[in-house]
């Protein structure tokens, strides 16, 4: 019962947050709803017994990504309301019949593909069939440096590249080779 409750709450947070991200007119609010949605996803991981993944979700998204997004929104000045004082959109919306149709078809195709790929997983497990919850930390650690060592290394090289790139971009430039 506890797991069911937790699943429902997490799923509600995830879906509700995601919906509000799209519906919200204010970018800053959208970002906060994204935080809610990401928390919901962490809750879903925890319900599935993937404790390490849930904590990683919190550390990476709640701690890092959302704050960086808030920074980016603020520094680019994208926080103004998109409706005027009469409640009418200042910027015409992009939704026309054509875009909605294309969007619907694309999402339909994608959901078919995803459901087809995941179909072997959709079995009705009863609570007793499930393996007991165990710590996943050790398994993840062992897999990362054995089977998935290449992916691990490639992603670390990618992150190093991003780090160096950021340092190069933010480095103070010399103007005309002289002093500042």
């Amino acid at each position: 019962m506890f797991l069911d409750t937790m699943f429902l709450l997490s799923a509600l947070a995830t879906l509700g947050g995601a919906l509000m991200v799209v519906m919200s007119k204010n970018l800053m609010h959208a970002c906060m709803y994204l935080l809610l949605s990401l928390f919901g996803v962490a809750g879903l991981y925890a319900t599935l017994g993937a404790d390490f993944l849930a904590a990683t979700q919190l550390v990476v998204y709640a701690g890092g990504v959302v704050i960086l997004m808030l920074f980016a929104i603020m520094l680019t000045g994208g926080v103004e309301e998109f409706v005027n004082k009469f409640g009418i959109n200042k910027i015409p919306s992009m939704g026309t019949t054509k875009t909605y149709t294309i969007g619907a078809i694309v999402s339909l195709i994608f959901s078919f593909v995803i459901l087809k790929t995941l179909s072997p997983l959709f079995k009705n497990y009863s609570q007793a069939d499930l393996p007991p919850m165990e710590s996943t930390v050790e398994d993840i650690g062992v897999l990362l440096v054995t089977d998935h060592a290449l992916a691990f290394e490639i992603s670390s090289v990618l992150l190093l590249g991003a780090l160096i790139g950021a340092a190069v971009i933010s480095r103070p430039r010399k103007i005309n080779g002289g002093s500042k």
């Binding site: 506890f2 906060m32 919190l58 550390v59 701690g63 959302v66 704050i67 960086l68």
Partner: protein, 402 residues
């Protein structure tokens, strides 16, 4: 499942009896309900005690600062001014709740709550004693890092929602500071995880002993440095002086909480003081032996051996109370140091703050991590003092042969 306060209480013979009694009365299996209730009561106690600690923290801050500056400090309300924080609380509640006209109303409402929620979430894994840990998660330290970063979001959002220059600058400083200092803090914690071989606070604490030479801080030279890196990083993460730039009153009025009044401001202040307690507790658990009590007093072995008349279960409870005391004592000692530092050192400049983090503390933390990894590989995890002792005894043995 991991150890929780429920699994600890379930060891007592009365627990299962009580559960079956309640099941009989209610007519259904009450295990889940009792678990829920026990957790509810435990959480209620922890949150309220922590709120009290936060309140007394403001009193301690003023009293210790007064002591350092040769003043009297609050001494009118109650004995030694002890009830000053209650008077402050009443003042906060009765104040007018002002929301600036151009503030972002929703976020202005959410930010103080987010700060307090983030701190209270981290209380779930604090190891007060071997029995009284709300839940000893397998990923305890990692979880704590994750939820405590919520405070950073709260500070940033609070600064933004106020729609004031000072708040904005304070919020930006707070967020950038917290993100930056998370790197050396996490690396130092990782070093401890390497030594203990586990992420849960229980494993880490059990890997240490009650006496100072068994603590991780004196395990090897690298961990000695790592403790100070963690402590300084924790100061910066809790926005404590000398890193209290987000609320630097000489330049930013009051920083990110300038526009907050009454209880909203109190929430931010309370969150800050509780976070200091939590971070001091983490430092104590990771490096200073946590709740370990020397001579087997904590596990109750000492009492069982020397006073056979005492029931083992009671001996264990006495041990638990001692553990609780030791943990709180260590944490409060660190709390004192934090306040002491605040009233001793001047504030850093923003660029100095970032230089300190990225050019000094992060490389030192990485160096420590590598050093500890090599140490554990080379000496098979033995501590410095063990090695010295064995070397001395070997020397004495060879000396005796002459």
């Amino acid at each position: 499942m991991n150890d929780t306060i429920v699994s600890y209480l379930a060891q007592a013979p009365g627990y299962s009896l009580a559960v079956s009694k309640i099941s009989e009365i209610l007519g259904f299996d009450a295990t889940g309900l009792v678990t829920f209730l026990v957790f509810g009561i435990a959480v209620f106690i922890v949150v309220n005690v922590m709120a009290l600690v936060g309140g007394l923290g403001t009193y301690a801050e003023r009293k210790i600062s007064a002591d350092i500056q040769m003043r009297q400090g609050p001494n009118r309300v109650g004995p030694y001014g002890l009830l000053q924080f209650l008077a402050d609380g009443v003042k906060m509640i009765t104040k007018e709740d002002v929301t600036p006209r151009d503030a972002d109303k929703t976020l202005f409402f959410v930010a103080p709550l987010l700060a307090l929620v983030g701190v209270f979430m981290s209380l779930a894994v604090i190891p007060f004693s071997s029995g009284f840990t709300l839940t000893s998660l397998n990923i305890g330290v990692f979880y704590l890092l994750g939820v405590s970063s919520l405070v950073g979001v709260a500070i940033f959002v609070g600064g933004y929602a106020s729609n004031s220059k000072w708040s904005m600058l304070g919020g930006m400083r707070g967020a950038s500071q917290i993100i930056s200092y998370e790197v050396p803090v996490t690396l130092s914690i990782l070093a401890v995880v390497l030594m203990a071989g586990g992420l849960s606070f229980g494993t880490i604490t059990e890997a240490q002993g009650g006496l100072p030479h068994q603590w991780f801080i004196l395990h090897n030279p690298f961990s000695f440095i790592a403790f100070f890196v963690l402590f300084v990083g924790a100061l910066a993460e809790a926005n404590r002086a000398p890193f209290d730039l987000p609320e630097a009153e000489s330049e930013l009025v009051s920083g990110y909480h300038t526009e907050f009044t009454g209880m909203r401001f109190a929430f931010f202040a309370l969150a800050e003081y509780i976070e200091v307690f939590v971070l001091c507790g983490v430092c104590a658990a990771l490096f200073l032996g946590g709740y370990n009590v020397p001579f087997g007093l904590g596990s109750g072995d000492f009492i069982i051996k020397n006073f056979p008349a005492v029931h083992p279960m009671i001996a264990k409870q006495i041990g638990n109370v001692l553990q609780l005391k030791v943990f709180v004592l260590k944490t409060l000692a660190l709390y004192y140091v934090v306040i002491w530092i605040r009233w001793t050192l001047p504030r850093l400049r923003v660029d100095h703050l970032m230089t300190l983090c990225w050019k000094y503390m992060t490389p030192i933390a990485i160096f420590n991590l590598v050093g500890i990894a090599i140490w554990i590989y080379a000496f098979e995890g033995k501590s410095m003092l063990t090695l010295m002792a064995s070397a001395l005894s070997a020397m004495a043995g060879s000396g005796g042969g002459h």
